[in-house]
Amino acid sequence: MKILYFAWVRERIGKPEEEIEAPAAVATVGELMTWLAARGEEYAHAFDNPRVVRAAIDRTHVRPDAPIAGAREIAFFPPMTGG
């Protein structure tokens, strides 16, 4: 699946997007964050406080307990500051 990062999540990880294959045991957005955080220092830094990182699946806001099965695009980003 395609993973997108925005704002300081993007800066900390050092790239705007990537293709990943998470193991089947990773079932929810929250579990995906935990799995990503273990991929390296830059990921650990981005997800060091996972409660402040927001997520969207296929361009719709979701909570950490949302299942990721069937998702094409998952985005991680800080709380929004538009308007």
Partner: protein, 151 residues
């Protein structure tokens, strides 16, 4: 419904006029323009840079415009949100609502702005003397958006 995400500036008066042109059922137009401030908490800001998630931003704003339509009697809505580098005094965001009576236009414009602040995938970075800094989300903005859900 018009939703546009663009780098260029917009003309608030022209957008408001477009919602009433050729019709006589509109009795109220509310226009809200969000503008880049030159100081934040007493510190000067050289510019804001807005990052966004293009496809989601458009879909998310459209969903909220639809929600506004189902909640109030609206005759037209235009939302324009800029991205990229914006200097103090420049426009950032425009919400225009048209209705027969003012209450619907006022309420819908405020609802849309409150949701844009907390749900539309845009992130502001401030250019200050010490470097660039991501703007932190405000709890007061969450509270402002939350009151619409409670009603």
């Amino acid at each position: 419904m018009t939703v546009r995400l663009q780098r260029e500036d917009f003309d608030a008066n022209a957008e408001a006029a477009a919602l009433t042109r050729g019709r006589t059922d509109v009795g109220a137009v509310v226009t809200f323009t969000g503008i880049c401030r030159g100081t934040e908490a007493g510190e000067p800001i050289a510019a804001l840079t807005l990052e966004h998630y293009p496809d989601m931003a458009e879909a998310e704003i459209a969903r909220h415009v639809e929600a506004a339509h189902s909640r109030w009697r609206l005759l037209g809505v235009t939302v324009i949100h800029r991205y990229g580098r914006i200097e103090p005094g420049e426009n950032i965001v425009l919400v225009v609502t048209a209705s027969s009576h003012r209450q619907d236009a006022f309420a819908a414009a405020e609802f849309l702005m409150d949701y844009l602040k907390t749900r539309a995938p845009f992130w502001k970075s401030e250019e200050r003397a010490g470097g660039a800094r991501w703007v932190e989300a405000k709890q007061t903005d969450d509270a402002a958006a939350g009151r619409w859900a409670a009603q």
